[in-house]
């Protein structure tokens, strides 16, 4: 709505601030676009930052309109909560501490405050003070909303990371004298693959294993890096005198590996963990007897 009330707008300071926000929407968003918080998050184009700024200005005007400048739960904030969270999260990911993110949010006040003061030229000092106080309370509340949301984001991130850490613990299972198995589950990034390799090699030494089975049933993606890690592990185990068998390559993954062009030719593979164990036992010369229901055992 094209409002153009003169500086001496009537009504409460809150309403004066609301009208100011609506009137100066574009300018405020423009100034914010130059602040680190917007500038570094919306890197694709400045327009994007300006648009994002406008959304925040609108939210503030709505909160002021409802006379809820001190209330972080004011309905007006609902629409920007997610955006603020994303911005805060992006800044944390860029390595900023919570305090730094908080001060970037605080830095949003001065440019708006300057505009307000300029707009209220000619008003009584008391009116001016009331209005600037209202504005800083309102932006203080915005900061609170952003920090609340950022903190809950951080919590969610920690929870997810904890889950992934759980995956990192790789048990080595002794299946038989001389046969160990490692069921790999989850993402095999570099750090984790290194851990897997060390755990496995240690187990090979400790348990005098002649065979090590790497079961990848639980690995969702086998790309060139994962394949490389598998091959390195196999090669290292071989140097320690153990033969590796990779099991649990699911059909979709097998097709993908072929398209990707990976050559696992040097790696012994078996469809399932059971098949791999069967192979190892056979190689060890253990006599496996499969007991059938009629009681007659045969190989």
């Amino acid at each position: 709505m094209p409002e153009h009330e003169a500086a001496g707008s009537p009504g409460t300071p809150t309403h004066a601030v609301r009208d100011f926000l609506r009137r100066r929407r574009e300018q405020i968003a423009q100034r914010w676009a130059d602040e680190p918080l917007f500038r570094t998050v919306f890197t694709v184009s400045r327009d994007e930052a300006v648009e994002a700024g406008k959304v925040v200005v609108d939210a503030l005007a709505q909160v002021a309109d409802a006379q809820r400048v001190e209330d972080p739960d004011a309905a007006g904030f609902t629409g920007v909560r997610e955006q603020l969270a994303r911005m805060g999260a992006a800044r944390s990911r860029a390595g900023l501490s919570t305090t730094q993110v908080s001060s970037e949010l605080a830095a949003l006040l001065p440019p708006v405050d300057n505009l307000l003061v300029a707009d209220l030229e000619g008003e009584t000092p008391e009116r001016l003070r009331e209005c600037t106080t209202t504005l800083s309370v309102l932006l203080g509340t915005l900061r609170l909303v952003a920090m609340q949301t950022a903190l809950s984001e951080v919590q969610a991130l920690i929870d997810r990371q904890r889950l992934q850490l759980l995956e990192v613990a790789t048990p080595v299972i002794k299946l038989w004298d001389g046969i160990v198995a490692v069921p790999l589950i989850g993402t095999l990034d570099s750090a984790r693959s290194q851990g897997v390799m060390e755990t496995l090699l240690n187990a090979v030494v400790d348990q005098h294993a002649r065979f090590a089975i790497l079961d990848i049933t639980g690995v969702p993606t086998v790309d060139s890096l994962v394949a490389q890690h598998l091959m390195k592990t196999v090669a290292a185990a071989r140097l320690m005198g153990a033969e590796c068998v990779v099991s649990g390559i699911r059909p979709a993954i097998a097709q993908t590996i072929v398209h990707l062009g990976l050559d696992l030719g040097t790696v012994k593979t078996r469809a399932s963990l059971a098949d791999a164990l069967g192979y190892c036992l056979h190689e060890l010369g253990a006599n496996i007897v499969n007991v059938t229901p009629d009681g007659a055992g045969h190989r």
Partner: protein, 147 residues
């Protein structure tokens, strides 16, 4: 029709952890669009290769995912990986199997090309790299933009 929600995304690629989100997002988006398990796996694997290149060779960047449709109404998933790193000097060589400028298997780029229907690289020394791949839920409408 599918909604853009759950498919469209712009994800940062700045750490190993981000690669996890990239893979998860691509798997979810591909499933939403109706890709079968094998094609989902291919897309996720291609995304994993390209995102890692963005991170390792490009010094970080981002992935954008978009739902595209042909005039014939076929759904596709388009993934765009971009960085402002050193760029690829010799694209043919970079695409050839086994070429790596550092410690890899050198299978990522060429492998990713084989895992998707459309594959386009835009790169120049010093001005970053953008790799855009698209796969279609059913038969790919060929020919499209080349390398």
């Amino acid at each position: 029709m599918h909604t853009a929600a759950g498919v469209e995304a712009r994800l940062p690629i700045r750490s190993d952890m981000d690669l996890v989100w990239v893979r998860q997002h691509v798997r979810q988006a591909a499933a939403l669009l109706g890709f079968g398990l094998v094609d989902q796996t291919k897309l996720v694997t291609a995304a994993s290769e390209l995102a890692r290149n963005t991170l390792v060779h490009g010094g970080g960047g981002r992935m954008e995912a978009a739902h595209v449709t042909t005039t014939g109404g076929i759904d596709g998933l388009r993934l765009t990986f971009s960085d402002s790193g050193p760029g690829i000097v010799d694209l043919d060589r970079a695409l050839s199997d086994g070429y790596t400028s550092g410690g890899g298997l050198g299978m990522g780029l060429g492998g990713a090309r084989r895992l998707v229907h459309d594959f386009a690289v835009d790169s120049a020394p010093g001005s970053g790299t953008t790799v855009r791949v698209t796969s279609w839920v059913s038969r790919p409408p060929r020919p499209r933009e080349g390398v």
